[in-house]
């Protein structure tokens, strides 16, 4: 009877590890339900508030409503004893006793988590999407948290490659948070799974997110932190990964940029520096499992041709090439370009429009321009 599992996971005063210990002791959730308060009191690991909740009438009465919600919303309950409970997640210190899933969850799959700042820069968003695209093309599952910024980009990248992707929520399935990701959530359900350890109607409380992060890293072989500020939640995910014995990867960035301070620190502390998806595969020693043929096919999309050859940009005039050469070093503000090239500002404006229309450069923000990565 799954009803007892649902009841057990609805007790928010009982920590995930205590739930596991209870299961160990009583074998079945139904036995916990029937356990007398006195016996629970003799267990050293349970605080008084937890015992009060286990024995309370209120939580037991709620269960039937939870069951109704779950079946109405088409959510699957996957308990830690089920065959399709993810193997890697089961191995961590405090796995959830039950997962609520929409979509398909598999026992064994090779997953990589991509996480990062909610306030992503264009650099981070672009790389997150590209890494996810390639990982998914290699047949790996991309795990993330469906938050704004890097998380959403990671899911989108995997979906663009028609690959599998899993989103782990910090709230119930009936709440789409952030709300603009409604259609993204539907797409993820179709091509993977949206999972949560919280029952429907659970609101996204701040404390849910660190707990959610342990599931993200727990599901994965490794965690790639794309962008993170000093105190970013993504660093919590990286810490969990280390505790759980998973690899941590980080994308290097400009040391002056707020969003790169966290990732650069991770690299300093020993996380593997990532410049391309192959760096990840190599570290995890899963390079050989990748189908060679598939790898070759991939090369055509998102292939990075090198950026210092004039031919790859197509037909450029000398003035245009001069601007492109300057932008190779770093993205530049239009005023800096004026200073570097010695052209008049009106000429630079004109050339930049032409380059924008040719798809060679793009505006980042505040009239800073950068070269677009050339796709064949």
């Amino acid at each position: 009877m799954k009803k007892y599992w649902v009841w057990l996971s609805s007790l928010d005063m009982v920590s995930p590890s205590s739930r596991l210990k209870l299961l160990d002791y009583f074998k079945e959730p139904a036995n916990i339900w029937d356990a007398p308060g006195k016996e629970l009191g003799e267990l050293r690991f349970l605080p008084g508030a937890a015992i009060k909740q286990i024995t309370s009438r209120e939580y037991r009465d709620e269960v039937s409503r939870h069951m109704e919600n779950i079946s109405r919303m088409g959510i699957e309950i996957i308990t830690i004893r089920d065959d399709n409970y993810p193997l890697f997640l089961g191995r961590i210190y405090d796995p959830p006793v039950a997962l609520y899933a929409k979509g398909i969850l598999m026992r064994e799959e090779k997953s990589i988590a991509i996480v990062g700042s909610r306030k992503a820069t264009s650099y981070g968003s672009e790389i997150a999407e590209e890494l996810a695209y390639k990982l998914a093309s290699y047949g790996l599952t991309v795990v993330s948290g469906m938050a704004r910024g890097i998380d959403s980009c990671a899911h989108k990248g995997a979906l663009a490659a028609k690959g599998r992707t899993i989103a782990v929520l910090g709230c119930g399935h009936d709440i789409v948070y952030p709300s603009e990701n409604k259609s993204l959530m539907e797409d993820i359900i179709k091509s993977g799974a949206v999972i949560s350890e919280y029952l429907p109607e659970a609101v996204p409380l701040p404390r849910n997110f660190p707990a959610r992060n342990r599931i993200i890293s727990g599901l994965s072989l490794g965690v790639v932190v794309v962008e993170a500020a000093k105190n970013s939640g993504s660093l919590i995910t990286a810490n969990f990964a280390l505790e759980q014995g998973r690899e941590v990867f980080a994308l290097p960035g400009d040391i002056n940029r707020v969003n790169s301070q966290g990732t650069n620190k991770l690299i300093q502390d020993g996380a593997k520096l990532v410049t391309c998806v192959e760096d990840i595969l190599e570290e995890l020693r899963i390079y050989n499992i990748i189908d060679e043929a598939k790898l070759n096919g991939l090369k055509s999309k998102y292939q990075y041709h090198g950026f210092d050859k004039r031919e790859i940009y197509g037909n450029l005039s000398d003035d245009e090439w001069c601007i492109v050469e300057n932008l190779m070093h770093e993205p530049m503000h239009v005023d800096v370009l004026v200073k570097m090239t010695g052209y008049d500002v009106k000429e630079v404006n004109y050339i930049l429009t032409m380059l924008e229309l040719k798809g060679v450069v793009e505006q980042v923000q505040g009239r800073v321009y950068k070269l677009r990565r050339q796709k064949a």
Binding site: V258, D335, G366
Partner: protein, 506 residues
């Protein structure tokens, strides 16, 4: 005895003649003023009575009736004190009635008989000339501004005694003259100059385009990036005020009471930057006793609205019509008042509530929701009027270290003036003066594109996601860029440059 003295009232920025008729009859002593005067006019009684006595004249202990004709227009303020006093003195015979009809008299009285300054002296002087009256007696402090008007004998008076002596031919007041060339000599000396701005080449260029086509623009950038500094310098590159424009501006300031002392004529383009807590009435003009608002005070100059998302939505809405029409109409029961409001509008905003969203070296403390909504507020009717959009990036210290100086405002102004000349020539007879005023049908007529340009804009449409609204603005701006270049046809480079200043919100 009956006397008639001429004076002036104000309606909007125009003066109109007021006949002060005074009748003194035998009867119980009383003093009545009729003719729709406001409280200040009613109180004139006491000032007049004391001033006449204290100047050594006798105040008649009779029945005095003063009528202010035309009797159906509301009269405000204290400028009628002096004409009422002179009217009484004429009626009692203390002042000769022979010549008084040749003068327009205005001024506020002090209890000791002294004459204090008034508002709107310039408009009254223009009214006097218009009515064909050559002599204008007024407070000394207002003499300079009235002397600007040609063909008027300006007679500044210190007290009632001076006026009486002059009218009686005892001791004449010397006519006040002023050299207009002298005033105009320093009309180009602004305290700011574009060469003070280091870097920001692209924004300077954009402001040159703004000045040349009288376009409205929006600047977005973090605090300290120089938005205000740049906006302040826009008036310095606008074409110098013509005499007619200067008169209009001075009249508005004179009526509002904002004309600085010792300034006969405002010869520099005004720059107004009201705070974002301003009310709709303060911005557009109005109130119980109508006064011109900020938008009229910026007439022929620049209206700079910083922190535009913080303004009250209703306040901004109220500004739409005046910007469209070039004048504000304030309708009242017994009159409607028109203040001109042709101004170059500059809007400025931070990219998010904390201001740091577009600054990569600082952390933005706003939620993503706040960032999205902050500039989202802007979209709508006001943004429709914005032709150029500039994102301003803070200049790093290293880049401040430019060798040499930037271009002087005077040099930029010369280019702007010649571009404006081309526009005035082109739009002769259409009642428009700059590219910003082009309506859609005229855009098609005057902003013709060749095939190469058409291909470019089509490409931009698809690749850069331009909106239909942006299309017309880009054409107007490229028209101005071509004018700055001295070209009659819009070329590829003009259009391509205009695309860089496209509006990105809304």
């Amino acid at each position: 005895m009956l006397s008639k003295v001429k004076s002036c009232g104000l309606l909007g920025i125009d003066g109109y003649m007021v006949n002060v008729e005074t009748d003194i009859n035998n009867g119980l002593p009383s003093f009545e003023i009729v003719g729709l005067g406001d409280t200040a006019v009613k109180e004139a009684k006491e000032r007049v009575r004391a001033a006449i006595k204290n100047s050594g004249f006798e105040f008649p202990m009779k029945r005095i009736t003063v009528n202010l004709a035309p009797a159906d227009l509301r009269k405000e303020g204290s400028a009628l004190d002096l004409p009422i006093a002179i009217g009484i003195l004429t009626a009692t015979g203390s002042v000769s009635p022979l010549s008084v009809g040749n003068y327009i008299i205005t001024g506020e009285l002090s209890l000791d008989g002294g004459i204090k300054p008034i508002k709107g002296a310039l408009s009254m002087a223009l009214c006097a000339v218009h009515e064909g009256i050559k002599n204008f007696i007024l407070p000394v402090e207002n003499a300079d501004e009235a002397a600007v008007v040609k063909g008027l004998n300006v007679l500044p008076a210190n007290n009632i005694r001076d006026v009486a002596d002059h009218l009686n031919g005892v001791k004449g007041i010397n006519s006040h003259c002023i050299e207009i060339e002298e005033i105009y000599k320093n009309c180009e000396d602004y305290e700011h100059d574009f060469c003070d701005v280091k870097g920001q080449e692209n924004v300077k260029r954009a402001l040159e385009i703004v000045a040349a086509g009288s376009h409205s623009c929006l600047m977005v950038g973090p605090p300290g990036s120089g938005k205000t500094m740049l906006a302040r310098r826009l008036p310095t590159i606008l074409p110098p005020l013509t005499f007619e424009e200067a008169l209009e501006v001075t009249r508005i300031y004179s009526i509002a009471g904002y004309l600085p002392a010792k300034t006969p004529l405002i010869t520099k383009r005004p720059f107004r930057s009201p705070h974002h807590t301003i009310s709709a009435v303060a911005l557009t003009g109005g109130g119980k006793y109508p006064k011109p608002g900020e938008i009229s005070l910026a007439h022929n100059g620049v209206l700079f609205l910083d922190e535009i998302p913080e303004f009250d939505k209703k306040t901004l809405e109220a500004m739409r019509q005046p910007l469209e029409d070039g004048h504000v109409t304030i309708s009242r029961l017994n009159a409607s008042i028109v203040y001109p409001s042709k101004t170059t509008l500059i809007l400025a905003a931070n990219p998010c509530p904390c201001g740091n969203a577009s600054d990569p070296s600082k952390a933005c403390t706003c939620t993503p929701w706040q960032v999205r909504n902050y500039l989202g507020k802007l979209s709508g009717p006001l943004l429709d009027r914005v032709d150029l959009y500039m994102e301003i990036f803070p200049v790093k210290y290293k880049e401040l270290d430019y060798e040499g100086e930037g271009e002087k405002s005077g040099v930029i102004r010369e280019r702007v003036v010649s571009a404006r000349k081309m526009q005035i020539e082109r739009y002769k007879g259409l009642n428009i003066y700059s590219n910003s005023q082009l309506q859609p049908n005229l855009i098609n007529k005057f902003c013709k594109l060749d095939n190469e340009c058409k291909a470019l804009i089509k490409n931009a449409y698809e690749k850069l996601g331009l909106s239909a609204r942006a299309y017309g603005r880009i054409l107007k701006v490229s028209r101005t860029i071509a004018d700055l270049d001295g070209k009659e046809n819009i070329e590829l480079k003009h259009l391509a440059e205009a695309i860089q200043y496209r509006v990105k919100h809304g």
